[in-house]
């Protein structure tokens, strides 16, 4: 029935050389896979760093064999120094937030599936798209190079607070070259993501095929679209901030360094800069960044749950509007990161209310997901398990937001492990679960092979229970007053909490090891997995109506025409209980939910 599609001519022909096909490819699918590969590499590097950190936190005077070869001065005899801990921590945060949580669910899956889901043959600006990846990849190389240059990477944390980020090497190891490399890397990353967002938005607005109205876009496409809109604003603000930091380092300007600061008994040459300025610019990006990480996963998880619950969501529109509300509100709440920063205390109250309000759309989204399961015919597989796990994690991480949204409680919880637990659950683990769910779900379409289900389920159980064992205790530590970003707990006060840290470390090692199962599954299934049919999940959206893997122009010389809403499950059609978006078939439904 797909043959009614219109004929198509390409903007660019399939490349034949290896370089144009796999390296500097203009094909959004290849770029999507490249992004996924980058995210995968970055994720395992970031995880390795977290292992080193966790080991040090639990057994801080024990040598880690071989660590001295990574950095002779950072780990003399294999024992981590305080600055090396902070350097690893900064790199862990930066790599995970930027190169994993932003690239995997948004840039990787979005690149691969957004054009297919709207029915386009590619993005409107394939060259920008290619640049987007390679600029991001360069950003990653620049960041990693700081391990090997000068006295190592910056130790200022992923938030890089001023003036520590701007005073140069007098601030400590890594604060000279390390910070400059960090800022260059992030500025490049911003450029890459801005180019990506430009493509994503114009793909969604302009390249939808006939019949594909905005409201007929799958939720995943909506989430990528909304994320691009957030990213467009956020990265456009972070980039200037990074440029100003770089100038403070290399050109001797004073944007962020105040007057009269003394280091090593010497008055710093800078004067008059504003330290709060950095925080404002950073968090104007930083809070929306949380939504850049989580909204794509929300879309992916909705998309996967729908295919597995075999009935529509209670309301597609409410989900879309709620995600939109998150995007808008995300810019009005950034000040909650600065309650005790010395910002005007009235502003703290002003920022606290939208922060509390943002729980309303989040709650609505969770309620729609959960109550849509009511009366469904839920299928359990690795993808749907990770999606359900996502909901559970998102709730667990989300409720702690109630606390942190209030300035008065923030006095006690700010900069403690409570915050660390909160954001690891809500944007770290939850977004990772979205990525895993997406991988198990779309892997057959991308590679033409199914992933191993038993291994996938084993991966799920270890990750799900493991993540709770790691991050729930973080909250308890925080409530007891355990300050974050300490390389060693020398406080008398914190000594009784060290057993909790040991528990967390062991859980982190087990959970981390479980991620190796995933890696094995990924590579094993890529070459040895069972061949995948075109539509293994009996799903409705456009990516399942084309061949597996999709041809170079996505739909084999045709453009599909869309006849249906994206999630027509629970209907009676010639193929079963669903009807593809591209099928002109009239269907009967005994179940109607609007």
């Amino acid at each position: 029935m797909h043959d009614m599609s219109a004929p198509v001519a390409h903007q660019h022909a399939p490349p034949t050389s290896f370089i144009r096909k796999y390296v500097f490819s203009l094909d959004h699918k290849v770029i999507g896979k490249q992004y996924y590969g980058l995210a995968l590499l970055a994720a395992y590097v970031g995880m390795g760093l977290s292992w080193l950190m966790r080991f040090h936190l639990a057994w801080n005077s024990t040598a880690i064999p071989g660590l001295q070869f990574l950095s002779a001065s950072g780990a003399p005899g294999g024992v981590m120094t305080p600055e090396y801990y902070l350097q690893l921590m900064t790199m862990h945060g930066t790599i995970m937030v930027f190169f994993v949580l932003t690239t995997a669910p948004f840039a990787a899956f979005g690149n691969y599936f957004l054009p297919i889901q709207v029915g386009a043959e590619d993005m409107p600006f394939p060259r920008f798209n290619m640049m987007s990846f390679w600029v991001t990849f360069t950003a990653f190389l620049v960041l990693m190079s700081s391990f090997f240059v000068g006295d190592g990477p910056t130790l200022g944390g992923w938030t890089q607070y001023a003036p520590l980020n701007a005073i140069g090497s007098v601030g400590g190891p890594g604060q000279g070259t390390g910070v400059v490399l960090w800022a260059v890397s992030i500025a490049l990353f911003c450029v890459g993501q801005l180019l990506g967002a430009l493509n994503f938005i114009s793909t969604t607005l302009d390249l939808r095929v006939k019949g594909m109205s905005m409201m007929r876009l799958p939720l995943s496409a909506w989430s990528w679209f909304i994320t691009s809109c957030i990213g467009l604003t956020a990265f456009a603000v972070l980039m200037p901030a990074c440029i100003l930091v770089i100038l403070d380092h290399v050109a001797g300007t004073s944007f962020f360094v105040a007057s009269g600061l003394v280091m090593n008994d010497q008055v710093l040459p800078h004067s008059g800069g504003s330290t709060l300025l950095w925080q404002h610019l950073f968090w104007f990006f930083g809070h929306p960044e949380v939504y850049i990480a989580i909204v794509p996963s929300m879309g992916i998880v909705s998309h996967i749950l729908l295919a597995n619950q075999r009935k529509p969501m209670l309301s597609q529109r409410v989900l879309i509007y709620s995600m939109g509300a998150l995007a808008v509100l995300s810019y009005m709440v950034y000040g909650h990161h600065m309650f005790v920063s010395g910002m005007n205390p009235f502003s703290s109250l002003v920022f606290s209310f939208p922060t509390l309000v943002i729980t309303i759309p989040s709650t609505i989204i969770v309620l729609i997901w959960t109550f849509s399961l009511y009366g469904s015919k839920l299928r359990i597989n690795s993808a749907s398990l990770f999606s359900l796990g996502f909901i559970s994690m998102f709730v667990s991480g989300g409720v702690s937001g109630f606390f942190l949204a209030q300035p008065s409680i923030d006095i006690m919880l700010h900069a403690t492990y409570f915050v660390v637990g909160h954001f690891h659950l809500v944007m770290g683990v939850a977004a990772m679960f979205g990525i895993f769910a997406g991988t198990y779900f779309w892997f057959p379409k991308i590679t033409g092979r199914m992933m191993s289900e038993p291994l996938g389920k084993l991966h799920f159980w270890l990750s799900f229970v493991g993540a709770y064992c790691i991050f729930m205790p973080f909250h308890y530590l925080g409530m007891a007053g355990n300050v974050r970003r300490y390389s060693t707990f020398v406080d008398d006060f914190l000594q009784p909490l060290i057993p909790v840290h040991k528990f967390i470390t062991i859980a982190a090692f087990v959970t981390g090891a479980a991620q190796l199962i995933f890696l094995y599954n990924l590579f094993y299934s890529r070459f040895k997995g069972a061949p995948a049919p075109d539509n293994p999940w009996e799903a409705t959206s456009l990516e399942w109506s084309t061949a597996t893997p999709p041809p170079f122009d996505n739909f084999g010389g045709k453009h599909p025409i869309v006849y249906h809403d994206p999630y027509q499950y629970g209907v009676k059609s010639s193929v079963g209980d669903y009807v593809m978006q591209t099928s002109p078939e009239q269907v009967e439904t005994e179940f109607e939910e609007k």
Binding site: A6, A9, Q11, V118, A120, E121, P124, F125, L198, N199, I201, S202, T203, L205, D206, L207, R208, V209, K210, G211, M212, S213, R216, L232, F235, A236, V237, M239, P240, A241, I243, L244, L247, A251, T253, S254, F255, A258, S259, S271, G272, L276, L277, H280, L281, H559, I561, V562, Y563, H564, Q568, V571, V579, P584, Q586, V587, E588, T589, E590, F591
Partner: protein, 221 residues
Amino acid sequence: MASTLHEPPQIDLNDVLGAGNGGSINIPTDGGLRSVLHHSPAPSSSAIWVAMFAISMMFAAFTSALIVRKGSSMDWESFALPSILYFNTFLLLVSSVTLEVARRRVDAFMRGARSAAQRPTSWLYVTLALGLLFVIGQYVAWQQLRAQGMYLATNPSSSFFYVLTAAHALHVLGGLGGLIYITYKLSKLTLRRNTMVATARYWHFMGALWVYLMLLLWFKL
């Protein structure tokens, strides 16, 4: 539960509005300016607005940094803007006018049945020249400031001056690239009207942005 008949929507294949325009479906392979005009739906008409929004956000960030930085300390020293800037402003504004003339001529050329030999490129060249002069003029303005001893790190006011003008000049260079691109495409008769429109919008935006920056620098420096 009552059954509902789920009607497939009636789609007018010629109606490209409202429900997705079908992407770059109809780009002809044979090239030719007029066929491009008639059959090509805009590959992406929103992209230019998206880009302009991102650039606006970037300059908004710089602006708020300027205001906060100026308010945070007493070390701000005002200085007179190099007078060549007013001339540069004039150049950029005139270039917007010439580009608009060029755009209309190209438009008319695409619509009309004139021969390929009558391609209206001269106004594009004028615009290009004006744009290039603007960038050179900005460079001269920097030289004048340096001659006064105002360097990038001399004072926050001069830091912001250099940062803002350099960021703007880089974007103008991007616009010049766009102008060269459409001139080339026009010479090949493969220019899409949308590309022309987008480039013109971007160029006008650069002019408007510069006027804004001039006002900002004038009031705040």
